[in-house]
């Protein structure tokens, strides 16, 4: 399954957006322009579709309620709307889906958030249309939940719910993994910040785990100086699983270091390589270039390419959306991927594809990094630098 188009209304700092999405999409923008907010749409839908501890009310609560979610630029029309077009090419025939979710505050009484619209279409045929049906009219309470989150109601579009729920978001924060014990932080569901990476690795069946770790080891051998071996061991006393890396030095056997001793870059690379190998579904990568040496960043597009190439062989296809500031990363992507540019403005941010003249420049010699990245640079920096 793959998302082919996304429309937004009043979503965080986007008053409106309507953009096509490719198998691989790069999201570019200045700081605070809304790159993470853009990726958050898919995380929101994942929480809505999750069967354990998910649902639309949970997704709203995680984000501080609808008032925090709704764009500040929504003046007349207070509805928050997400519309997606999807394509499923895993079967012999291509199936096209459309899912629309609108949310609005009740406007009276408890000010609950109600579903103002929920529509599902398969190949143009309407499967669900809320709230224009008898049941919703009879019992307004039903509008506090979506049908996407209800196993009893989503039978006809279960594939859609499963797809949303399988989204992976990765923004590994090495410090959380290294100092998890001291911070004592709760691990959010689906572990976006990588604190639970060890548990996730441990939960993977041994054969799959070994195969993946072997591939990671091979990559690390080339990327991390002095690194020689990777192993995944259970501590005999605490019972906790640990990732250990061996670094060669003057002693014959080198030294084994646990994940909390590894460098930030090594950890982020391990997290990235693990996420790329995990099963299908949408993969959201937040600035994968962080903490990594430029020479390694240059290889990230190739890594992602390899994952995408496997797409045909797998039953579930993998789509990747990457937010980035990195020139090096963009220099190495090929022309087939899509870039989206987020531009902040007085009426909220707008997100757009490259225009015709930009595409022409890219087609004839220039790289997306040369054409598009300068447009996301804040003007003030060039004028005077960062004054303190």
């Amino acid at each position: 399954m793959q998302i082919t188009r996304l429309k937004l209304k009043n979503w965080r700092n986007f008053r409106e957006a309507d953009i096509p999405l490719a198998v691989r999409t790069h999201v570019l923008g200045a700081n605070a322009s809304g790159k993470s907010n853009f990726l958050d749409v898919f995380r929101f839908l994942r929480t809505v579709a999750q069967t354990d501890g998910g649902g639309v009310q949970k997704a709203l609560k995680d984000r501080g309620g609808l008032t925090k979610l709704r764009s500040l630029h929504a003046r007349r029309d207070p509805e928050v709307l997400i519309e997606l077009e999807l394509m499923d090419d895993s079967g012999p025939v291509v199936t096209r889906w459309r899912y629309v979710l609108g949310l609005k505050s009740e406007g009276k009484g408890q000010q609950r958030v109600l579903v103002s619209e929920e529509r599902v279409e398969r190949n143009g045929k309407l499967l669900l249309d809320r709230p224009h049906n008898q049941k919703d009219k009879e019992d307004p309470e039903r509008l506090t939940q979506t049908h996407l989150e209800q196993i009893g109601s989503n039978l006809e579009f279960r594939a859609l719910a499963d797809f949303f729920a399988s989204t992976t978001y990765l923004h590994l924060v090495p410090q959380l993994l290294k100092h998890g014990d001291e911070i004592g932080a709760r691990i959010p569901e689906s572990d976006p910040f990588g604190q639970g990476l060890m548990q996730r690795i441990a939960q993977t069946p041994k054969k799959t785990r070994d195969a993946r770790l072997k591939r990671i080891q091979k990559a690390l051998e080339n990327a991390v100086p002095l690194f020689s071996e990777l192993r995944f061991e259970q501590d005999p006393i605490s019972g906790l699983w640990h990732l250990e890396a061996n670094f060669t030095h003057w002693r014959v056997h080198g030294s084994w270091q646990r994940e909390n001793q590894l460098s930030d870059g090594t950890l982020r690379l391990i997290g990235l390589l693990w996420a790329l190998q995990e099963a299908g579904g949408l993969l959201l990568l937040e600035e994968p270039e962080q903490s990594l040496n430029d020479a390694i960043v240059a290889h990230i597009p190739l890594l992602i390419d390899r994952v995408l190439r496997d797409r045909k062989r797998r039953t579930s296809s993998r789509q990747v959306i990457i937010s980035t500031h990195s020139e090096i990363l963009l220099q190495n992507v090929d022309g087939g991927s899509q870039s989206l540019i987020i531009e902040p403005g007085e009426n909220g941010s707008t997100v757009r594809e490259p225009n015709e003249s930009e595409l022409e420049q890219i087609q004839h010699g220039l790289t997306p990094a040369e054409v598009l990245l300068p447009k996301t640079r804040p003007q003030g920096v060039q004028q005077m630098g960062l004054w303190v």
């Binding site: 022409e360 420049q361 087609q363 004839h364 010699g365 220039l366 790289t367 300068p374 005077m384 630098g385």
Partner: protein, 200 residues
């Protein structure tokens, strides 16, 4: 409005290229922000790509330093095989800083340095950057003295060198004035005008 892409080997070359276009090609606009290749070693391998851009999309002005090499030799060695009349490679003799030094009035006013210390023939100054840095250490502006020149080694550039000099070029530097005293700039100016006429 016609557009031209500016490519420079550093931020200063980019700023100079922008001002050159503004002065020599009235009615033209610089296509987006100039591309800073961050070093001549990255500019040279990219030249065939810019030649393709010049052939199919828009004229390209590339600015680099000769760094003491002979211009003819440099061009012979590094010009791309797919060169095009719309790809204009101009080299500052000996460095981009020579072009900066060529506008004495602008320099004295914008960077607050003494005019009488400025060289008459900047193209003949062997180490233009060194000469400029020496002038900057005597600037009346504190932020130029403190940031454009390295605080530990007064013969090297400081962390704010590119930023302050690029801003100076945009705000004070005048290509018309500068070409009077720099023959290499005058040639670049003329060729740019010729490129404009060719695309009229």
């Amino acid at each position: 409005m016609k557009r031209i892409l500016v490519v420079g080997e550093d931020a200063l070359c980019c700023a100079l290229g922008e001002q050159l276009v503004l002065a020599a090609l009235p009615g033209w606009a610089v296509a987006g922000q100039p591309i800073d290749t961050k070093g001549v070693t990255k500019l040279i391998p990219a030249l065939p790509r810019y030649a393709e851009q010049a052939r199919f999309v828009q004229p390209v002005l590339c600015i680099a330093d000769t760094d003491g090499h002979c211009v003819k030799e440099w061009l012979h060695r590094n010009s791309p095989a797919n060169g095009h009349q719309n790809l204009l490679i101009r080299l500052a003799v000996t460095e981009a800083e020579s072009w900066l030094l060529a506008d004495q009035e602008g320099l004295a006013h914008g960077l607050q340095v003494e005019k009488r210390r400025l060289p008459r023939a900047p193209d003949d100054v062997l180490d233009a950057k060194g000469a400029l840095l020496q002038l900057l250490t005597k600037s009346k502006l504190r932020y130029i003295r403190d940031e454009a020149v390295s605080p530990t080694d007064r013969t090297r550039q400081g962390p704010g060198y590119n930023l302050h000099l690029s801003n100076f070029v945009r705000a004070f530097w005048n290509a018309e004035r500068a070409r009077e005293s720099s023959p290499s700039l005058a040639r670049a100016f003329k060729n740019l005008q010729k490129l404009g006429d060719g695309n009229a």
